[in-house]
């Protein structure tokens, strides 16, 4: 049986052990189910432990192994799913008290594909209520309580994919599925020292996932390594008739594309001005690791109102998505007081503002795409600080979360992003850096992430969780 020291193994590590018969899928599922049951509450990371389903899926994986059927690297691997992904027969709560017992008669396409790949769903994981769209300003914005960081429970796990962030970091699951409208994979992955991948908009089907903003929501993996992110994306990417925005673009990992002979990396002017000293130092050190194989050039992003565009789009789309929720009065049952009224003003934004945001969005898309004629990736610190106290308003410590507009700009344009841990900062908490690439260039990001992780060992670090 696995031991506590094994809890932080990667998908690849477990895959090897399964195929060497050092462990069965059932044993692996039982191991992580026990950890979730014993430790999940310490991090407020778990909504529902899916024991019955997990053991059935694990047994199916073992039968496949015994019969010589190998569905791929995820076969037999336990995972957690952010609780905005519908699971037939099990609660899907969206992190919101009004929905804590609600069962949706649907199964998210992402979960269907992971099941087809032989992965084992062990838990629905906590999230910020309604994916943070109502304007939360502190960690206690979920009916499951504040998401606690995997490295230090007095610190925030990040959001809105709080549970996936802390569950992977604390070794409660080998990987998790999160989602991002604007920051919700990158932030918890960054604060928890994970590798998190935000795919290109449309790469992964959103069918069966709660919609906060139909034209901004993306679903993606949160793992221990960049390579694991690629393995998961391979299983979940691809066209889906249930999601009309899902792209019919082939995706495969590992990639056969050759890496660039010399990486062309753009960094952003001013990116290190409003960050903690350790964030700055670790980012500089990370660039030094890449310098022997890269041309690094400092640039400025094109001058566009990225925050206004993304803010308007989210506000208007969530107004349509949640008008009934507000009108019915259910909104007043949300956990964070500011979430109870934070969505009201969106109901009155003029249509022309939304249309104008979409018009400017088109310009942003082409302006950013033009940058990738000259560069392979744009690189910046993922977050300005390490994770802050779980009981403080964000405005007191976060320094705006990001030191550049790269996150909001890349979300406006639907571009992929990868965050990887690049060191330890204040109070021994993770710092991280992000790579953003051209649309559909996830493998470029993953290649660079893997290269960085081959030259460093931050991805092997983890908190001491027994």
């Amino acid at each position: 049986m696995p031991t506590a020291a094994d809890a932080f193994l990667t998908i690849e590590d477990w895959g090897q052990r399964l195929r060497k018969k050092a462990v069965t899928a059932r044993e692996l599922a039982e191991f992580y189910l026990a950890r979730l049951e014993r430790l999940g509450g310490d991090y407020n990371a778990v909504v529902t432990i899916t024991r019955e389903r997990a053991l059935a899926q694990a047994d199916a994986a073992d039968r496949d192994f015994a019969a010589g059927r190998d569905r791929g690297p995820l076969q037999g691997i336990p995972f957690g799913a952010k609780d905005l992904l519908a699971t037939r027969g099990l609660p899907t709560t969206w992190g919101a008290a009004p929905f804590k017992d609600r069962v949706i008669d649907d199964e998210a396409t992402v979960l269907e594909r992971l099941q087809a790949a032989g992965a084992v769903l062990v838990a629905k994981l906590s999230m910020i209520e309604l994916a943070g769209g109502f304007g939360y300003r502190q960690a206690n914005a979920s009916f499951t309580g504040p998401g606690r960081n995997g490295w230090n429970r007095e610190r925030w796990a990040g959001g809105s994919s709080s549970g996936p962030g802390s569950a992977v970091a604390a070794g409660l699951v080998p990987f998790a599925i999160g989602s991002e409208t604007s920051g919700s994979i990158m932030t918890p992955a960054g604060y928890n020292g994970l590798s998190g991948l935000r795919p290109t908009y449309g790469r992964v089907s959103r069918a069966g996932a709660m919609a906060l903003s139909w034209t901004l929501d993306k679903i993606g993996p949160m793992c221990r390594t960049a390579r694991d992110c690629g393995l998961v994306l391979h299983a979940i990417a691809g066209a889906d008739p249930r999601d009309p925005t899902c792209l019919d673009e082939p995706y495969a990992y590992p990639s056969t594309q050759a890496p660039p002979p010399r990486w062309r990396i753009a960094t952003l002017k001013g990116a290190l001005e409003r960050v903690q000293p350790e964030v700055r130092a670790n980012f500089v050190a990370a660039l030094q690791v890449l310098e022997p194989v890269a041309e690094i050039t400092e640039i400025e992003l094109p001058n566009h109102p990225y925050s206004a565009v993304v803010g308007t789009i989210i506000s208007c789309e969530m107004a349509a998505a949640f008008e009934e929720f507000i009108k019915s009065g259910q909104v007043w049952e949300l956990t964070a007081l500011e979430d109870q009224w934070g969505g009201h003003s969106t109901l009155a934004i003029p249509a022309k503002d939304y249309i104008n945001a979409l018009r400017v969005r088109g310009k942003i898309q082409w302006a950013l795409d033009a940058l990738f004629d000259r560069f392979d990736v744009i690189c910046a610190p993922t977050l300005s600080t390490v994770a802050g106290p779980v009981d403080r308003d964000f405005r007191e410590w976060s320094q705006g979360f990001a030191s550049t507009s790269l996150g909001v700009a890349s979300n406006a344009a639907g571009l992929p992003g990868l965050t990887v841990m690049n060191g330890l900062g204040a109070d021994g908490l993770p710092t991280a850096m992000q790579f953003v690439g051209r649309a559909l260039e996830e493998n470029t990001l993953l290649q660079l992430g893997e290269l960085y992780q081959s030259k460093t060992d931050w991805q092997t670090r983890h908190p001491d969780v027994a």
């Binding site: 304007g135 008739p241 109901l347 009155a348 945001a357 979409l358």
Partner: protein, 123 residues
């Protein structure tokens, strides 16, 4: 995107406008009985747009949870939204600058010869 002054109304001003709206019946949305105004008085100024929007919201989405703190928060958000809309409107856009919206045609059960259906009708 808007100064602190533009984002908040002093509480006294806020209360005055709420009272004004109540007197003129704007909150109820009714066409008010014409106000009797002394000939030498300036006509009362209408409330600023954020207040009008707030009144509309309160009428369309009634709740007994609208206390002063909540209304101030919503009003602040409305002001931010208006400022944001003005910022977007300042971006030079020509008629040819179309929205980056997703639209594709659909055909239900009878695709063109040799082609796959382009989509399914909504459930």
């Amino acid at each position: 995107m808007g100064t602190e002054d533009e984002r908040t109304l002093p509480r006294r001003e806020f209360a005055r406008h709420c009272g004004l709206m109540a007197v003129t019946g704007m909150v109820s949305g009714a066409v008010a009985t014409p106000m009797v105004v002394a000939a030498d008085d300036d006509p009362p100024k209408p409330p600023p747009p954020p207040m009008l929007i707030l009144a509309q919201l309160m009428q369309q989405y009634p709740s007994d949870r609208y206390d002063e703190t909540v209304l101030e928060g919503i009003l602040s958000d409305i002001q931010l939204d208006l400022n944001r809309g003005r910022d977007l409107a300042r971006i030079p856009l020509s008629n040819a600058d179309e929205p980056a919206s997703v639209f594709r045609v659909v055909r239900g059960d009878r695709p063109p010869r040799g082609a796959q259906p382009l989509g399914k009708p909504p459930a």
